[in-house]
Symmetry: C2
């Protein structure tokens, strides 16, 4: 009897990741860490950020254009790193993508459900993310007994972008306390950071929530989810180290200088500007 | 000798006003007050707000589209109420408009120069407005001896939009004090509110700056400038009360519900959505 021939199904095509701006780089950072062989095409819609304050109709239109642009690359999956876009548009645009499409919401909800012991889970996010109730639905789908307490935190993004991220800053601490006190009082033991900007103020958030509350970083959980899916489907990239290219809809310079804050490393790949409205 | 025949040159065509969002409604409010017979077409680019954090190239592109859209109406002048758009794009797009084009910056600078006694003038605005130095240039053109002290106030817009406008709010007061203390210490006697959102926190700003500092509201000054120009050119609208129609690039509902804060009155005219990317 001879040995069966092993079928090589590995897939060197890049992973596409997009976000309304730079926040999705927190997911790219995690992908670099856990899947160093994967090539990544990143799109940040910096010319139209923020998505979090816009109507559903506008967000869906923008996400369709983002996907059409990313499909011009031969990618093996598309990941929506933006909490707002994943919450509002994931189902509406699923058929637009000719490849598997994953959003940050389901992966993050699953991680939170695994982490919670008392089944009381808090959700933070932009106004649009919270308005959709996407995290609530995803959590209830996993376990209807989970109690979900949601709070929109519209000032977190501009405060992070203004660099107000440090403990001891009365502005971020006051705003965080106002947003988070109802979640703390409700006794949640797990808190979803439902926007890719929020891990940058995890210290401030953690101090507000107190010990014993697990923070769930949506970018990190999404990267783990992608790794798992690719592994299951035998679609991981073979061999050598992957390359990352970045596309933005506004200034390349601003992206390159600010991106390092999210990536926690310099941006080394190619960065180019794209006219997203043409897609 | 018989009496000369009077030539009627009055002009019933509407005035076009545009802004990156709702802030330009502060100029509309003033126009309603001082020129009640004028009809107005307002465009708020709510689908792409804010302009204040974007690159020059992107702002100019957006402003060209805004003007092309407004030129589809038979307007007699176009007014750029957005400080960022006026600072960055006014000269670049002047030839695009087939009618007189006015920006908020020159009118506001002229009013500040008239108000100042000690020739020390402070300028507040978005990061993009301050980066261009447009107010500095406009003031120096009027009087090279004017000392100009500029400060970017990037958190004012999101804080106003989050409703944090009241005296006693530690967040807006802390941020305002940080931004304004250098201007106060420099001894300015006049302060330009170089963004149409800022009049909504004039109480907080005034308390920081102290008595004796005159605040210059860019929306109000721009409305006065338009009234003066139309009067000089005998292009004021004849007779009956004007009508205002509003166009936005995102949700009509959000505009209608939030617009009243800037207009200090309910929005009564027609509000419609426009796909600005087609222009």
């Amino acid at each position: 009897m001879r040995a069966g021939r092993m079928v090589i199904r590995m897939d060197a095509r890049p992973i596409a990741v997009f976000d309304s701006g730079l926040g999705g780089l927190t997911a790219v950072r995690e992908l670099h860490r856990i899947l160093p062989n994967e090539s990544i095409v990143y799109f940040g819609d910096t010319g139209r950020i923020p998505y979090g304050t816009r109507s559903d109709e506008t967000v869906i239109k923008y996400v369709r254009q983002d996907i059409r642009f990313l499909m011009t690359f031969d990618v093996k999956l598309i990941f929506i790193a933006c909490g707002t876009a994943s919450s509002i548009a994931l189902e509406a645009v699923r058929s637009d993508a000719g490849v598997p499409l994953y959003g940050v919401v389901p992966a993050t909800a699953a991680a939170a459900a695994r982490a919670s012991r008392n089944k009381k889970i808090g959700v933070t996010g932009t106004s649009a993310t919270i308005r959709t109730g996407a995290y609530r639905r995803a959590l209830k789908l996993i376990d209807p007994d989970i109690e979900v307490i949601e709070t929109a935190c519209p000032l977190f993004v501009p405060l992070v972008e203004a660099g107000r991220v440090s403990a001891g800053d009365v502005v971020i601490e006051t705003v965080a306390r106002e947003y988070l006190t109802p979640l703390k009082d409700a006794g949640v033991d797990t808190l979803i950071l439902g926007c890719t900007h929020y891990p940058l103020i995890s210290g401030v958030i953690s101090a507000c929530m107190g010990e014993g509350v697990t923070l769930i970083d949506s970018g990190r959980e999404a990267a783990r989810e992608i790794a798992g899916r690719l592994g299951q489907a035998d679609m991981l990239s073979p061999g050598k180290k992957g390359e990352t290219s970045y596309y933005v809809s506004d200034s390349v310079e601003a992206f390159t200088s600010l991106g390092g804050m999210f990536l926690r490393a310099g941006i080394t790949g190619r960065v180019a500007k794209v006219d997203i409205e043409k897609y």
